[in-house]
Symmetry: none
Subunit: 413 residues, 2 copies
């Protein structure tokens, strides 16, 4: 009998107290018998993913939970590329993109080309695999209006500005170098030429002609941001020699897991919302525990409700997260002979009253037979503030969890 | 309705337990219903301004509370210069000074020229605006025997030693370079020439002739310390794009606030002592909350009592600080429509039994409607040790507080 680790991640879980909930947070207010049982069985605390008071993005939050260090953050582009299954090589520069709509003066009318869905794949295929000045252009559609661009060639830099103006009604920007290097100037220049070529191809593309006929906005430009290169950080699974799997639907999370060296498992019935298939998610997690040392199980709906400012929705999303935990606990009991250490975490807080990520810490648990049990018996932002994990940083939490695989490297001898 | 932040700072608040107070600290022993109400309404903790066990000065303590990083500490001279309203330019070197009394052998008889008050302004005017080897000399009197010196010119360094011997009965020192650079040697040389010129001017100045006639010590030299240059840190108000105001009497605090990009408000009825005009201070703070995002309200008397070793006086000073908090809470309730997040902090501990700053952490609170409430219901060094802010660093505390203005910059995306 060995030992396995299961890390459950509730995206955007942390929140603030609301009068509507008798001055409790959604997590305090929700019905969470299974999460509380996990907390009772272990040690609890509050975690700062990066630093107290500093909000992090979903990408950085998950990279941290998966053992990446902040200094090695590659930028959002490479995470999205990994999420699309594009294997990046050293020197590649990756960007997050939107299909967008511009007028004759290149003023951005719509940053998402009317949230184009149908036809995005065909448009992306038309843009993929072209070449500009010896640099290969890889372009793949992602969810809805989103896409990923990779430039592959020699002497490329990720130190160039975004062309997405972030607002509508102003002109799309030219890419500019952020530093004085030859590589940055060259890359900005090439990206601007790639963009011109993209616009030529998109202009008369049948998909766009059809959209205009139907009164829809044409996807006639590509807006880029989040440029980044792979960093030289060895994958944690290789560094510590363990096997890992991530179960999620969200592309960003799957991308972060891929960069960290995890295998990934997803399913079309895993949505980012409250209607996600929790029975199947739990079944996948239990199945993965049979063959992997470390399994990460991601649940998205709490974050979504936070961004929507939907307090009652967030309570419901958390109720359902607890049900997911219930299925997982039952599956482990019935099917897993190994001892399983369970971690509970979140990638950041998304308070409903803020509609955005905040810098508030998130409640965490490390639970299991060999784990020291503190006095805390509830999983929430208040109770866990009294736990023995104390106020812990993201990297320290992940390292603590991994240590129960007994593969961490001793310092000194 | 927006959200504002009010940070109340009790200088030197932290202390030790004393038998005289039934083995309680002055803050535990004092009557503090308003501070306790603020603590009850929020999360509490213990803060190390710099590092556990390392005392900090009033200047560094406040710079930290105002968002400055330790690496960017400019030295005391620039803080004092800012407190006197002298705008420093890049390359300027600033010093804290005392008027002092020396004998014919340049032995320091009195480091404060008998705590000279009257006439200091005229003497300072006589020393101001002279030139030595192309370097401009700016000299302004400060409180009592204190003054500020700024050298303005090319190739100046702040890496030179203090001329203040810190003790009486020994000779005033010559400025010496701390490193081998041309600039440091040049600056030490110039400072020594400036000092000679100062002594020439002071020697026969009518103010000093009159002092000697009256049996007072003449202010016949200038002793320098705390040399520093402005550092390249962008002001936090500009970096995070918010407006801020500091209400205080203490020049050092006002200087630190100015360097951090805060506007300042003061009044002659704001003394550094227990008799300060707390009604007016509270009124200024409430008024400032109407137009600024962030308001810092400073109260000095606790520190003074600590330096004097006056345990009962410190209890009284804290009772009065609580009254100040009471006026502030009332004013906010009556006049402010915005949601106000209240922070309670101190710049360092000044234990009465130590007569000096200590490295003990100080109790802190972040309180308000949207703030998670821990179980702590009292504001003191013991109760706050059980709070959910936990043991927090100065920069992390300030960042956490500022995050409620929702202007912190997200890491990752």
């Amino acid at each position: 009998m060995g030992r396995k680790v299961l890390l459950m991640i509730a995206d955007g879980l942390g929140d603030w107290p609301y009068e509507l909930l008798d001055n409790q947070t959604p997590l305090q207010y929700a019905t969470t018998p299974h999460l509380d049982r996990i907390a009772t069985n272990g040690m609890t605390g509050l975690m700062d993913l990066y630093q107290a008071g500093i909000p992090v993005g979903t990408d950085l939050g998950h990279l941290t939970l998966f053992g990446y260090l902040y200094e090695n953050y590659p930028g959002r582009g490479p995470v999205e590329a990994a999420g699309k299954g594009i294997q990046l090589f050293e020197g590649d520069v990756a960007f997050r993109c939107n299909f967008g709509t511009i007028d004759e003066d290149r003023v951005v009318i719509n940053r998402r080309a009317g949230r184009i869905r149908q036809g995005a794949k065909e448009l992306a295929e038309a843009l993929n695999d072209i070449e500009v000045e010896g640099v290969k252009v890889i372009f793949k559609e992602a969810t809805e209006h989103r896409a990923v661009l990779v430039l592959r060639g020699t002497s490329l830099s990720d130190q160039i500005t975004d062309t997405d103006p972030k607002k509508e009604g102003i002109a799309a920007k030219k890419a500019r170098p952020i530093d004085d290097s030859f590589e940055s100037k060259r890359t900005a220049d090439i990206l601007n030429k790639v963009r011109e070529k993209f616009e030529e191809i998109l202009k008369d593309h049948p998909i766009n002609q059809k959209r205009v006929e139907e009164g829809l906005l044409p996807a006639n430009t590509i807006l880029t941001r989040g440029s980044g290169k792979l960093t030289n950080m060895p994958k944690i699974t290789e560094r510590l020699n363990f096997t890992a799997c991530c179960i999620a639907s969200e592309k960003t999370v799957l991308g972060a897991a891929t960069l960290a060296g995890f295998d990934i498992r997803t399913d079309l019935s895993f949505t980012g919302n409250i209607d996600t298939n929790i029975e199947k998610k739990a079944a996948y997690a239990v199945e993965a525990l049979k063959s992997y040392d470390f399994v990460a199980l991601h649940y998205k709906a709490a974050d979504l409700m936070g961004h929507d400012g939907n307090i009652e929705g967030k309570v419901q999303a958390i109720n359902r997260y607890d049900e997911l935990a219930g299925y997982v606990l039952k599956g482990i009991e019935q099917e897993i002979n190994d001892e399983v250490i369970i971690g509970l975490a979140a990638d950041h807080s998304t308070p409903c009253a803020r509609y955005e990520h905040s810098g508030d810490p998130v409640p965490v648990v490390i639970s299991g037979k060999v784990i020291r049990k503190d006095k805390v018996t509830q999983y929430n932002e208040i109770a866990c503030g009294e736990g023995s994990l104390n106020r812990i940083s993201g990297p320290a939490f992940t390292t603590s969890l991994l240590d129960y695989l007994e593969k961490t490297i001793k310092r000194g001898s």
